[in-house]
Symmetry: D2
Subunit: 117 residues, 4 copies
């Protein structure tokens, strides 16, 4: 990566903003808008399909294949799960907040402790 | 959220660090270590299961259920896909980088434009 | 079981009868009854899980593993899809009839009725 | 098809024969041949997709939709799992035999009739 400042989180935040914009776009010109138009079942079919393709690509990697296909399938899986959240007016930040709570990941305190080291 | 400094990205980064630590932990005391010990198929079964549970929870939300169960299932899905990446010595940052490239999401420029506001 | 002529088809027929009987059984002593009691989502989770386990077992067979595990997972997948049909008061015969029509598979009775026209 | 006695089992038997024939067919004119040519991953993707579509159609039925779509998706799921078995040179009869053993479904009468020949 050639970008020093950008953090990984900003990718999801910006993707969420982009998904929100495209939710209102023309279904003929935007893949995201076309998914919303087809409805929740279509979006969930894609989540399921991408999960299966991720599983198969992971087996390919374990069998010696290049990892890039798996990275792409996992990106597809996360992308379509974000479209699902957007369709239901939910946010990826709620998912991250859930992970934070489960794993006791703290924000400020952890940063402070890092700063102290 | 009451946390001003922590960004969403830090949750995934810290989770990745935690997953890396637990990969070496005792399989009797750590769920993550037990998954690695059981092997890739077990981890992929979990990815598949959580995808299905996410799909069912999304239908529940569309039928009027509270969204929290869906948030939890999506967190499970992302978590287990991160365990999968960790098992294969891959990083969530590669997935985010793939999303960034696909959607032409820029880091520095976006931050610069925010700083200008 | 009192069936006179056993054939592969009779296995599904007898299984359907058995599933119908157990639908009313005590959920503490019957796995099938316990699935019905837990409800459709639980049954569908099992269909999804068994599909994923079938997929992984098929990859194992392709990589040289003994086929018996795949036979067992496919049996689990068909079994749980029959529980799903039973839960919704549908019959596996409707599924077989659909396959027959699609593939233009004819039987005697059906042939006779066509011959009469 | 020249089968003399139609029963539900014969549908799977005849479908298996048809799948065996088409395995060698021209991939340009036969869907089954095209699946074999694309390989196991493609066939397993279809098994996964049809499982997800079955799950969604089952939820639709529970919400009041006509059952025919679910019958069609279940037929797709069974069909593609039979293509998978065919691809790996396995038989649906092994799956039915596994179900028979698990559920203690007897073929005594059938055995008797075979002994009589």
């Amino acid at each position: 990566m050639t970008n020093a400042v950008d953090s990984t989180g900003d990718v999801l935040q910006q993707l969420a903003r982009l998904l929100s914009d495209r939710k209102q776009a023309d279904a003929d010109s935007s893949y995201v808008a076309s998914l919303h138009k087809k409805g929740l079942n279509k979006i969930l079919e894609k989540v399921g399909e991408e999960a299966v393709e991720t599983i198969l690509a992971a087996r390919d990697v374990a069998a010696g294949a290049d990892a890039q296909a798996l990275i792409g399938e996992t990106a597809d899986l996360w992308f379509h799960s974000m479209v699902m959240l957007s369709h239901l007016d939910l946010s990826h930040e709620q998912v991250l907040e859930e992970l934070r709570k489960r794993f006791n990941i703290s924000g400020l305190a952890e940063k402070a402790s890092r700063a102290a080291n």
